[in-house]
């Protein structure tokens, strides 16, 4: 972790922002005008990039989708997003990002006490104190080609054929010889 911090200042900034957001008691839902509420949240993708398959955490290609396509919004450079003019009720937020698996999030917008946040991941029923969405895992869309090994050659039909031939050629005479001796 320390090495990553040293190598790039971005995680540090993200961390500071996170602290900041804790301090300033961001309310994920704020009441707007009479006709609706605003849901504010944030998508956090820490690109580990270790595996080589995970795409860089580019926020410009991430979409945040409310209620299966009712509204679609995009991320600001700092990862924040907002939905405006949302009615009171229980809503579903999904994040579409190639290379990452995000759990959909249920968000309760309550009309009685505006500003109260109730959010939970629907995949594992984990509650969220803040609307910060993080990928559950990275997704690898390709099979990884196994490096060449003698075994794979042996496993191939030709390899099996060769193996069988070798057995017949060199082991069989011995077996037959042994049998002859027994007899």
């Amino acid at each position: 972790m320390a090495s990553t911090l040293r190598s790039s200042p971005i995680p540090l900034i993200l961390f500071l922002q996170l602290c900041f957001s804790f301090l300033s008691t961001t309310l994920a839902i704020s009441s707007g005008s009479s006709d609706g509420y605003t849901i504010n949240g944030r998508v956090k993708i820490e690109s580990t990039g270790v595996k080589g398959f995970g795409l860089p955490g580019k926020t410009s290609n991430v979409k945040v989708i409310l209620n299966g396509g009712q509204w679609v919004t995009f991320l600001r450079p700092d990862g924040y997003f907002s939905f405006h003019n949302v009615s009171a009720g229980t809503h579903l937020i999904e994040v579409a990002a190639i290379g990452y698996f995000f759990s959909p999030v249920r968000v309760d917008v309550s009309a009685r006490n505006p500003g109260k946040i109730q959010a939970a991941l629907t995949e594992n029923r984990k509650g969220l104190t803040e609307l910060v969405l993080e990928p559950l895992r990275e997704e690898q869309y390709y099979e990884i080609r196994e490096p060449f090994s003698i075994m794979s050659l042996v496993k191939s039909p030709m390899g099996l054929m060769m193996g069988f031939m070798v057995i017949v050629m060199f082991l069989m005479p011995k077996l037959v010889e042994n049998m002859g001796k027994v007899l």
Binding site: S60, N67, G68, G69, V72, A96, Y142, R145, V154, L175
Partner: protein, 986 residues
């Protein structure tokens, strides 16, 4: 010996049985079987960004709600964003030279995107009391405290927004005055703006507003007793011209220091002999405006003191660009006219009609239709004169860049709005391949395989690897224009919203031919044509082999369902429109029948809104075949608005239209009325007509047999509580439910009914063989769910006894009739599914032997292949040993999402709308085509390619093995000979 064999067999088994997901791809296999094309749709607005050196680009917004930045040199997409379906782009502009500003959702969402990479910089939500016209104005040189201000009129309010961070600086509510702002005028160099608009129909108001704080400095209004029709165009910074309510005179309005003066001019005085209705064309030409009258386009110049004069009168099949400011205070505009198979592009100065800056004739494919829009941009040539480039949008929605009398690039953006797809065969290969070609191929073939062998043995150098990759991608085999043995090469016949038909080659996705259907073009005979469907009309395979296959394109002249229909027949080899028919009746439903005539033309029945049936093709032969089958033809109509499903049968020839022997009257057989207070029809799904089922029997554990209830006449219907038709979050679980039905469409019998409490739509469903899978939202768990229903025929269940079969006491040969009451049992099960779904389909193979996969288009615009085995109602938590052997997966509460089984791998099919599958000739393989704004094609093998060697099969290794074997035989032979000799000597 025996032991050795056993050991060997065991080894073989262990080596061969390695489980893995059924669809998976290695990274280096991308592009071998799949192709992906990116489009944007019909361009609505375009803004050029060419001032600075470096990348020249044009930013466009389209009717598919896409905003994109295109490379001006090649037409490639730098970046692109597809906004939500309810988020139509109203206007775009560029601010500060680095941000693209978009106003969308009827003037309520303002976003700024970084021009180089498309990252969203800020987003502002503009609120207002009521919906209104929306207007975006980005003054180029207005600075307030080093900040450029953007003015937006939307939802009845005028907003001033900072272009740096999107903060709303001030807001002026015009809703109380009910002012519809038409223009925002910013006189150069001043720090105030004029907002000019109509109040009601006959009053014009002008507000002078301080830019810094939104304070109204002056308010003037002028009434015009005749009334305005609402169309207005800004002619100069202080003059507007509006059309009056009768559309017969123009009113020029000048605003000087906040004072309004009106001046009326009759159009007949201007144009002369005109009695038609004038329409003002939206234009941004300074000192000029355009009106359309009697098929003419009239350019009207506004002289001093609001006097109007006609500058030019041209034919109306032309497009005019906005004015473009040249450096010396001059303005130019572009004009495109048609003439023969050429288009004439002229760039003129606004204040000098005869001063053509540019006059070019460019040859244009007539399949592109008329020019719909033009955007021009200038550059400075090496001799310091002005050069112009023009971006034009054609009738078929394609986008072209014209420069120096040539088409620099073109994009087929009509393909972003596909309505329907069907697959068609390619011509059979002709005999006669030259020997030289074969020899050359043989050498190439060997060379290729040596390279591949090197690759597998990890001996290949980096250059070799590149060569291997290039060879695999290019492989001329896959893009040939003939039918192949495996049936991978086909034509995808695609109908787009522009009324253009494209044939795409499945090998590489190129457009083989395209035709702008004459019958689906806007004309006198057919206004507002809309395409509906494409059907296979003629598929010659037994008789009539010398005829080309053709497709039937069905359309409608007009927007309502009672509008008269249009049929068009297109040859799929050549792309020629063979025939077209303007029908006298409307089209409610089209039923392809299972009969063909001697020319292999399929009989189609078209039902009109009056429930008359019309038979096509209109030949005596067709009527002969049809009369014979008349009593066996049933169909149903779903009246979703009334909540009724009705079953019909044919009666006799029409009574009203006597003499029309192709028209038939129908009678009602049955009807199912859903109670309107508790159920509303949401989705109906049937089986695909051309689906093949291999066997009706399903062998389950302990050698037991179940018989699938396979019927072409089953209809799946999903209804929802009327309250729950809205979006998620609008209802509570208690007041929402979903009811699903399986209905026999011949008798109207309900075979299955199930209520899901606390759930709501949208419902996506697929119906295949004897099962239905549907996707819906569970409000209690707040997750999506997928259910499977399988239906089995119980009347045949007692045919298991071998003795009965031997003695002939079985009912397997008894006729199956839809009239008999079926004894069916249904099994169902449901599972959670993570994602929202946009489209769903099922794989289809030639013989129906291969197991099925569901293709699910997720909300992230990816296509997931999910084995049907996961949706098996016989799954239990602890399957018994025999069930496990049968392949039953232990029950889990949610369906797995395995990233390797995304058929689109790392690609997205932006704006995904539909997935189409077609069987290949090879039983293991299905062709999959997913379309939306993007197109994606691949072929998948749900049970792996058990009947085909994989692409990376090394023939060279096989050859080497054979050579080695032969060598070994010789060696052993020699050895044995020698040994025998020694034995004899002994």
């Amino acid at each position: 010996m025996a032991r050795a064999t056993r050991v060997f067999l065991l080894l073989l088994l262990v080596l061969l049985s390695s489980p893995s997901p059924s669809f998976s791809l290695y990274e280096d296999q991308v592009g071998l079987m799949d192709w992906h094309q990116q489009y944007i749709g019909k361009v609505k607005h375009a803004v050029f960004h060419t001032q600075k050196a470096g990348r020249k680009r044009v930013v466009v917004s389209t009717e598919e709600n896409v905003i994109a930045s295109l490379d001006l040199r090649r037409g490639d997409i730098f970046w692109r964003h597809v906004l939500g379906p309810n988020d139509a782009v109203d206007e775009i502009d560029i601010a500060l030279g680095k941000y693209v500003i978009t106003l969308s959702s009827e003037g309520s969402i303002l976003r700024a995107w970084n021009l180089p990479d498309g990252q969203m910089v800020w987003e502002s939500f503009l609120q207002g009391p009521k919906p209104s016209k929306s207007l975006l104005s980005v003054p180029a040189n207005m600075k307030i405290d080093k900040d450029n201000v953007i003015f937006v009129f939307g939802k009845g309010c005028l907003h001033a927004v900072s272009s740096i961070d999107g903060e709303v600086l001030w807001k002026k509510d015009f809703a109380d005055e009910s002012l519809e702002v038409q223009q925002i005028i910013h006189p150069l160099g001043s720090d105030m703006i004029y907002a000019v608009g109509f109040v009601g129909l006959s009053q014009l108001d002008a507000y002078q507003i301080n830019v810094r704080n939104g304070e109204v400095l002056k308010h003037r209004s002028a009434a015009f007793p005749g009334g305005f029709c609402g169309e207005v165009s800004l002619v100069s910074s202080d003059t507007l011209v509006a059309l009056d309510a009768t559309r017969s005179s123009l009113i020029s309005i000048s605003i000087l220091d906040g004072e309004i003066s009106l001046q009326q001019t009759h159009i007949s005085n201007l144009v002369g002999d005109s009695f038609g209705m004038a329409v003002m064309l939206p234009s941004k030409l300074s000192g000029m405006l355009m009106i359309k009258i009697n098929n003419y386009m009239v350019f009207v110049r506004v002289a001093d003191e609001g006097k109007l004069e006609v500058a030019e009168k041209i034919n109306d099949a032309a497009a005019v660009s906005d004015a473009l400011a040249l450096s010396e205070g001059q303005q130019a505009f572009g004009l495109v006219e048609h003439g023969g198979n050429k288009i004439h592009l002229t760039v003129k100065l606004v204040n000098d009609w005869n001063g053509d800056l540019l006059k070019e004739n460019i040859g244009m494919d007539h399949q592109r239709g008329c020019v719909h829009k033009i955007f021009i941009n200038n550059y400075i040539r090496t001799d310091r004169s002005y050069g112009f480039r023009a971006l034009i949008v054609m009738e078929d929605h394609s986008l072209l860049l014209l420069q120096q009398g040539e088409i620099v690039w073109s994009r087929e953006d009509g393909l972003a709005s596909i309505i329907d797809v069907t697959a068609s065969e390619l011509p059979v290969e002709k005999e006669g391949v030259s020997v030289a070609k074969v020899e050359h191929n043989l050498f190439e073939w060997l060379k290729g395989h040596m390279l591949k062998l090197k690759g597998t043995l990890m001996l290949a150098s980096p250059e070799d690897i590149i060569a291997i990759q290039g060879m695999r991608l290019k492989s001329s085999e896959k893009s040939k224009m003939t039918r192949d043995h495996n049936g991978f090469r086909k034509l995808l016949i695609v109908l787009t919203r522009a009324g253009k038909l494209f044939a795409l080659h499945t090998g590489d996705g190129r457009v083989v031919w395209s035709v702008l259907l004459h019958s689906l073009r806007n004309s006198e005979a057919c206004a507002y044509p809309t395409g509906l469907n494409v059907y296979q009309w003629q598929v010659p395979h037994h008789h009539a082999m010398d005829e080309n296959p053709s497709v039937l394109v069905v359309g409608r002249c007009g927007l309502g369902s009672d509008a008269p229909g249009v049929l068009s027949f297109v040859d799929t080899y050549t792309g020629k429109e063979l025939d077209s028919l303007f029908l006298t009746h409307s089209i409610e439903r089209i039923i392809p029948l299972s009969f063909t005539d001697s020319r292999e033309q399929r009989l189609h029945l078209i039902i009109d809104t009056d429930h008359h049936a019309h038979l096509y093709p209109r030949t005596p032969e067709a009527i002969g075949i049809f009369q014979h089958e008349l009593p066996n033809i049933y169909w149903y109509l779903v009246e979703a608005d009334n909540g009724i499903i009705r079953g019909h049968a044919l009666k006799s020839n029409c009574i009203l239209q006597e003499g029309d022997e192709y028209c038939f009257d129908t009678r009602d057989l049955w009807s199912i009325v859903f109670p309107s207070e508790s159920e509303k029809i949401l989705a109906t799904v049937t089986r695909k007509l051309n689906e093949v089922v291999h066997t009706q029997a399903k062998v389950i554990t302990d050698q037991d047999v179940m018989y699938k209830y396979v019927s072409k006449n089953l209809l799946f219907v999903a209804t929802v509580a009327p309250k729950a038709t809205g979006e998620i979050g609008s209802v509570t679980p208690e007041e929402s439910w979903l009811v699903v039905y399986l209905i026999d469409t011949v008798t109207g019998r309900i075979l299955y009914r199930m209520t899901h409490h606390g759930t709501q739509g949208p419902v996506h469903a697929v119906f295949s063989e004897n099962w239905v899978v549907y996707h819906y939202f569970n409000l209690r768990a707040h997750r999506y769910e997928m259910s499977v229903v399988e239906i089995y025929d119980q009347s045949r269940a007692d045919n298991k006894d071998v003795w009965k079969l031997v003695l002939g006491k079985h009912n397997l040969t008894s006729p199956v009739s839809s009239y008999s009451r079926p004894e069916v049992i249904t099994k169902s099960q449901f599972y959670f599914f993570t994602h929202s779904v946009k489209a769903m389909a099922v794989t289809s193979t030639a013989k129906g032997i291969t197991s099925k996969q569901l293709l699910i288009g997720t909300i992230g615009d990816q296509v997931l292949a999910l084995d049907k085995r996961y949706l098996d109602p016989r799954r239990t938590i602890n399957p018994s040993q025999s069930e496990r052997e049968e392949g039953i997966i232990p029950l889990t509460d949610s369906l797995p999402i395995i990233p390797q089984s995304y058929v689109t791998h790392t690609l997205k099919v932006e704006g995904l709308r539909g997935i189409v599958t077609a069987p290949a000739k090879l039983e293991s393989t299905t062709l999959v085509f997913a379309y939306g704004v993007d197109l994606f094609f691949t072929r998948i093998a749900p049970s792996r390619t058990y009947d085909l060697l994989t692409d990376d099969f090394s023939y060279a290794l096989l050859l080497i093995t054979i050579v080695a074997l032969v060598a070994a035989i010789f060696v052993t032979w020699i050895l044995s000979e020698r040994k025998e000799l020694q034995e004899k000597w002994r």
